[in-house]
């Protein structure tokens, strides 16, 4: 494998580097590195808490700035009619680097503060005015509504009076009452006066309010209310509330006091109005005039606020971006260690070894931007810490690598199954999904997503479509392979294609049940089209698909076992090749490989010419274990079968102790040798678990010399030699492999089951919809309508059930076959991902 170019086969070779950054270029250097996006900074002050770090005050200011920006954004978004925020690309960028950057940020901070202050002021007066406005409106309603009550009451009052005046002796009673002053207005000219309380209250509280008053005043009240149709909108929260106007007549200041208290405690607002009609009319006029004033002031204020927010909106995106960058930079600067005496910062981190030149160039660039003459100095450190795993993916491979990464991040420099997943995943999917028609649908939809990739990347998609969009290259390959497997299964929307001459002829004049006769051809590409229309097609396709899944499964698993070899060679562990890989592959092939060979052999024999009948392979495999050495001549596959099977069985049996004992024994021997030489302390590297790059302490001291900086150099945890651990590990590994061989081979039968289910489902769908329409007997118009409806139904069900649902299930099964059956054979997945500092993700997390 060439190492000139990065490939997915192994993760990138990483180097631990140290940077000495003069403090005046530190900001720009970090910014430049983040722009490049391939430097993973290590925390050099793990013991220092977040509060004690040098740049925490600066970060707090930035956090405050980004809070302000979020506040502005929420207000701009809430504005009606909406105000557009120009995108980042449309506005001049904010200077984030260079000697002027600090001032620019300080100015921005002041500017934001000022904007916030002005906005807050405007919002406050806006709120006050809004409150005033709603109060005035309520009052207007109260005045309007109560006018009705008064008229009514007055009318009734005069009625009462006239009846009294007309009447008998008892009329005097009321007049006496008037003399006592319980009806204060009685003596006035208005001719009507009762004491009352009026106001508004929320509609939902009205019944409670009424009941409480009734109880408190023991019924000594006359209450009237009416509903206000328009809702009141709260100026701050924008919540709508419906209110009622009420007016309560009662007498006695005590009672009135009680009413007021009850009304206030229930959240009602009281408005004093006069009982005389003229005064009420005046008040109404006044209120209306004031409302108009308030409205015009509110309108003007809304306009100024809009202008202010518009000004903010113009710069918002670039400020957000700049503040986001600045935050990232200072967070990173906090990770560095600071040398007080020399005014330099020391950074340490992982970089891909391939990119060191690019990084050095960017350091130089940063120096130029900062306008100084001292660049940061990069030096490579030697270490035996495990570097992070970094796979350079492209748009195409990204999704495939994600499939593997969600199982586990590869161990550093391990063979990466992601490279092979690119083909094997869509292929195994297609084995289950095989149908030309469905394949074309999947292919075209993914192709459309790829062609409109740029446009789709810009628009915000919903989550489900986003998922499909992310997997577009997987789907495109899945579609292509499905078209191929569709040809193999000879299935296009559950119908066969007759592209070549069939190998079978139906008899000329068929009567009843007939058999086709072979004409000597073998259908060259895929399944003979005669089978789908035969009654016994399932017997044939089941046998074919079952054997196909076994053959493909055994080959896929063997391939996965073979992938161990480059790992063992790369990590210089030859012991694993002959103590693990060889017995594993022998075990696999002496049982299941033998089965595969038998399947192929059985196919290649013309059993009609043979003296024996074709044997059942499943029984053959079972009796290979139950009665080794003896094969019933009637069901013999080939001569000497008994002997071969005994040999194979012995090989498989030998492989078990081979896997179990050889590795622990050899490790033990080596350990003894080392102990015998007196180097018990160094066993960590010698026992086969050591990492590829080992440095001596002398090298490290040389690196550090002159720097005077502590370098976080954790020695890798060197386990002491534990024979027990090794044995237990090996026992588990062996048992897992041997049992796994059997269960995993059986697991590949899902290929058969799923493809069978898919074919059957699509056939059933076809017979239940379109075929019904074809066979329908009726007049032309009805027939056509029926056909159209049935076609629409068939088509939508094909898309949703057969393509999407069945596709998802086949996807999950293909996923499982890769994770469990294949990855389990070789993939160690013990690494950690490379997470370089980058500006690429700014603005993404806030939407989450």
């Amino acid at each position: 494998m060439s190492t000139d170019f990065p490939s997915l086969f192994r993760s990138e070779e990483m180097s631990l580097v140290q940077l000495y950054i003069p403090s005046e270029v530190s900001h720009d250097t970090v910014s430049e590195l983040a722009e490049l996006g391939n430097f993973q900074f290590k925390d050099l002050n793990p013991t220092v808490t977040a509060f004690q770090r040098p740049f925490t005050p600066r970060l707090r200011r930035l956090a405050e700035m980004s809070r302000r920006l979020r506040l502005f954004q929420s207000q701009i978004v809430a504005l009606q009619p909406p105000l557009g925020i120009p995108p980042l690309a449309a506005i001049p960028p904010f200077t984030t680097v260079g000697p002027r950057a600090q001032n620019a940020y300080d100015e921005l901070d002041d500017k934001l503060k000022e904007h916030e202050r002005r906005l807050a002021e405007m919002n406050r007066s806006w709120e006050d005015l809004g409150k005033r406005k709603s109060e005035l409106e309520e009052k207007r309603w109260v005045l309007r509504e109560t006018a009705g009550f008064f008229n009514e009451a007055e009318h009734r009052h005069t009625e009462i009076r006239t009846s009294f005046d007309d009447g008998d002796d008892r009329a005097g009673l009321l007049e006496h009452a008037a003399e006592y002053g319980t009806l204060p207005g009685e003596t006035g000219l208005s001719g009507f006066d009762l004491e009352f309380v009026s106001g508004t209250i929320e509609r939902t509280r009205m019944p409670t309010f009424e009941r409480i008053l009734w109880r408190v005043l023991r019924g000594n009240l006359y209450m009237n209310y009416s509903e206000i149709e328009e809702p009141f909108v709260d100026p701050t929260s924008g919540k709508e509330t419906y209110k009622d106007v009420f007016i309560i007549f009662a007498h006695g200041s005590e009672l009135l006091g009680k009413i007021r208290k009850v009304a206030e405690s229930m959240g009602g607002t009281l408005y004093t109005i006069d009982s005389s009609q003229d005064k009420r009319a005046d008040a109404l006029r006044e209120v209306s005039a004031r409302l108009e004033d308030v409205d015009s002031v509110l309108y003007n204020m809304g306009q100024t606020r809009r202008v202010e927010l518009g000004k903010i909106a113009d710069g918002l995106e670039s400020w957000k971006d700049a503040v986001g960058r600045e935050e990232e930079i200072y967070k990173t600067l906090n990770l560095l260690s600071y040398d007080q005496s020399r005014k330099t910062l020391v950074a340490e981190g992982w970089v891909p070894s391939r990119d060191i030149t690019a990084i050095q160039l960017s350091l130089r660039r940063a120096m130029e931007t900062a306008g100084t003459s001292v660049p940061a100095i990069l030096s490579e450190l030697r270490t035996h810490q495990t570097p992070p795993t970094f796979h350079r993916t492209s748009v195409f491979t990204e999704a495939f690598q994600t499939i593997i990464d969600s199982y586990g991040i590869a161990t550093y420099q391990e063979v990466n199954p992601g490279l092979f997943t690119v083909i094997t995943f869509p292929f195994l999917f297609a084995v289950m999904f095989g149908d030309i028609g469905h394949g074309i649908i999947a292919f075209l939809s993914a192709l459309a997503m790829i062609l409109y990739e740029k446009k789709l990347l810009k628009t915000k998609l919903n989550e489900i479509i986003e998922t499909f969009f992310f997997g577009r290259y997987i789907i495109v390959l899945m579609g292509l392979f499905s078209i191929f497997t569709g040809f193999m299964y000879n299935d296009i929307f559950s119908k066969p294609l007759s592209l070549w001459t069939s190998g079978w002829d139906w008899p000329e004049n068929p009567v009843g049940t007939v058999d086709a006769s072979s004409n000597g051809y073998t259908y060259p590409f895929g399944l003979d089209p005669v089978w789908p229309e035969a009654d016994n097609s399932l017997i044939f396709t089941n046998s074919l698909k079952m054997k196909m899944s076994i053959v493909l499964g055994v080959i896929h698993m063997s391939f996965a076992i073979f992938l161990q070899v480059p790992n063992h060679i790369h990590f210089k562990k030859p012991l694993n090749i002959y103590a693990e890989f060889i017995p594993q592959i022998l075990f696999m092939w002496s049982i299941f490989g033998y089965l595969v060979i038998c399947i192929i052999y059985k196919w290649s024999v013309d059993w009609s010419q043979s003296s024996t009948s074709p044997p059942g392979l499943l029984n053959m495999l079972i009796y290979m274990f139950l009665s080794p050495g003896s094969v019933d001549p009637a069901s013999q596959l080939y001569a000497g079968q008994g002997f071969v099977q005994v040999i194979l069985l012995l090989i498989a049996l030998v492989c078990v102790p081979w896997m179990l004992c050889l590795k622990p024994y050899v490790l033990y021997k080596e350990h003894q040798k080392i102990v015998g030489q007196g180097y018990s302390g160094l066993t960590g590297h010698e026992n086969g678990n050591g990492h590829g790059r080992v440095s001596t302490s002398n090298d490290l001291e040389e690196e550090e010399e002159g720097a005077g900086q502590p370098v976080a150099e954790h020695t890798d945890d060197e386990h002491p030699f534990e024979m027990g651990d090794i044995i237990i590990h090996q026992v588990i590994h062996t048992i897992e492999f041997c049992l796994g061989c059997i269960s995993n081979t059986a697991s590949y039968l899902r290929l058969w089951a799923l493809s069978l289910a898919h074919a059957q489902l699509s056939e059933v769908l076809y017979t239940m919809t379109i075929e019904k329409a074809f066979l329908f007997e009726g007049n032309g118009v009805v027939h056509t309508i029926f056909l159209v409806i049935m076609f629409a139904m068939w088509f939508s069900l094909t898309i949703f059930v057969l393509c999407i649902m069945e596709g998802l299930s086949a996807f999950l099964h293909a996923l499982r076959l890769h994770w469990v059956e294949a990855n389990g054979k070789h993939y160690m997945a013990g690494g950690y991902a490379f997470t370089p500092l980058s500006f690429a993700h700014i603005g993404e997390d806030e939407e989450a």
Partner: protein
């Protein structure tokens, strides 16, 4: 005979894989392209070969009772 076809096609496929391996231009996608060509051809070949072999000497014949469609 039938079985030889499978072998001949295998040889052709291997030849294509070798040619693909050789002509893949150097670059950062070289490994990906080489592996993909080899794997894709192998997978498709396997599937074709299995389907072809299974029909070489069939053990059962297609059987049909419903003769309506055959009328034309």
């Amino acid at each position: 005979m039938g079985f030889s076809h499978v072998v001949w096609v295998a040889i052709v496929i291997i030849a294509i894989v070798v040619v693909g391996w050789v002509v893949t231009p150097r670059g950062k996608n070289q490994t990906l392209i080489r592996t993909s060509i080899a794997l894709a051809l192998t997978c498709c070949y396997l599937m074709w070969a299995i389907t072809y072999l299974a029909q070489l000497h069939p053990l059962i014949r297609p059987r049909r009772g419903n003769l309506r469609v055959e009328a034309d």
